[in-house]
């Protein structure tokens, strides 16, 4: 697969910015993909794999992850692309990608989650490792360095981080679904220890998550220079788009580390909630 991708320019994108937000980039995307996939016309998700060209020509769409099918899809798309005798040369101007940047002074964390151990008999999708990012806001790190926990930090962690996203995109917690949110911080030298207990559940308790966080944050002055955190949680149930969880309660663990400053540090998934991602409200 990796070798085959050398024949392409690989691009990874998110329906939230390409389909549901309006921008010059999303207009181009929707105009292009509707040539091979009409789901967007019906307000259904356009997710999947596509082979397109720079001018908006589309050579196929596939929403099946089977390796052989994806490889066949890539070969077919490449053949079609190469069968075009000539192409107009366009003056394509660089545009913003529509993905929000972290607010000034924010620290970007990588967040991983994994079911450990995966209960016997559970669907294989539960063996996934899940990745996301978290923006620790400047105001929140300023509070931590004083040994305090900003209300926004505990609220945003509960709503937007401590979700079971192992099998897909989870429904974020609503403020009223948080029944416990007890966080504290203490400072010793340049290191702040952050601890928290939390519990969330839907009104009828079909889905829930509860657990504890321990993190060590190293500061240089007021700047975060190290972040190590682990949360041990127990989860149950499923969101709309996270089907086939293990039966009953299962152990879900989270790890937090500083994110490297690289282009793959895309915005956290929950930024699609707009301003509430920054306030927690």
């Amino acid at each position: 697969m990796i070798e085959q991708l050398r024949q392409f320019i690989p691009y990874a994108g998110n329906t939230h910015s390409l389909q549901w937000r309006k921008s010059a980039e999303s207009n181009w995307f929707m105009d292009t993909v509707r040539k091979v996939n009409l789901r967007g016309e019906r307000n259904e998700t356009t997710q999947g794999f596509y082979v397109v060209d720079a001018a908006g020509g589309a050579y196929g769409w596939n929403n099946n992850r089977d390796v052989d099918r994806v490889l066949g899809f890539m070969r077919s798309g490449l053949t079609q692309y190469r069968s075009v005798a000539s192409r107009d040369v366009l003056q394509i101007q660089p545009k913003e990608d529509g993905i929000p940047d972290p607010p000034a002074g924010a620290t970007v964390l990588r967040v991983y989650q994994r079911i450990m151990p995966v209960p016997k008999g559970a669907d294989s999708a539960n063996e996934n490792v899940q990745r996301d990012h978290f923006w620790l806001l400047a105001s929140e790190s300023a509070a931590l360095v004083k040994g305090q926990v900003a209300d926004t930090l505990s609220l945003r962690l509960c709503r937007f981080v401590f979700n079971d996203a192992i099998r897909g995109e989870p429904d974020m917690w609503r403020p009223q679904e948080i029944s416990e949110r007890s966080f504290s911080a203490s400072r010793k030298g340049d290191v702040v220890t952050l601890e928290g207990s939390f519990a969330m559940a839907t009104a009828k308790r079909e889905r829930g998550l509860k657990g504890k966080l321990t993190a060590e944050i190293r500061f240089s002055g007021e700047r975060v220079v190290g972040f190590k955190g682990v949360a041990d949680t127990t989860a149950w149930g499923q969101s709309n788009y996270t089907p086939n969880p293990p039966k009953g309660e299962f152990p879900l663990k989270f790890a937090f580390i500083l994110a490297p400053t690289t282009p793959d540090t895309v915005a956290p998934q929950a930024t699609n909630h707009g301003a509430s991602y920054l306030t927690g409200r």
Partner: protein, 66 residues
């Protein structure tokens, strides 16, 4: 991979617990692919080298929520 490099310089129990959870190198081979995250830049690059674009589109960004 980078996560492991970062963690290798540390040595606490917390580090060991983190190492169990973060992605293993075998789970991050796909990150060796030079994925673009700006579609317009991908179009510019594709035109320059005369290659098609392979787009991986998900509900949740593949590079950040997978």
């Amino acid at each position: 991979m980078l996560a492991f490099l970062i963690l290798s310089t540390l040595g606490s129990d917390l580090d060991e617990r983190i190492a169990e959870i973060v992605a293993k190198p075998s789970e991050e081979k796909w990150l060796s692919i030079p994925w673009r995250t700006n579609l317009t830049q991908a179009r510019i690059d594709a035109q320059k080298v005369d290659k098609p674009i392979f787009m991986w589109i998900m509900n949740g960004h593949p590079m950040g929520c997978t």
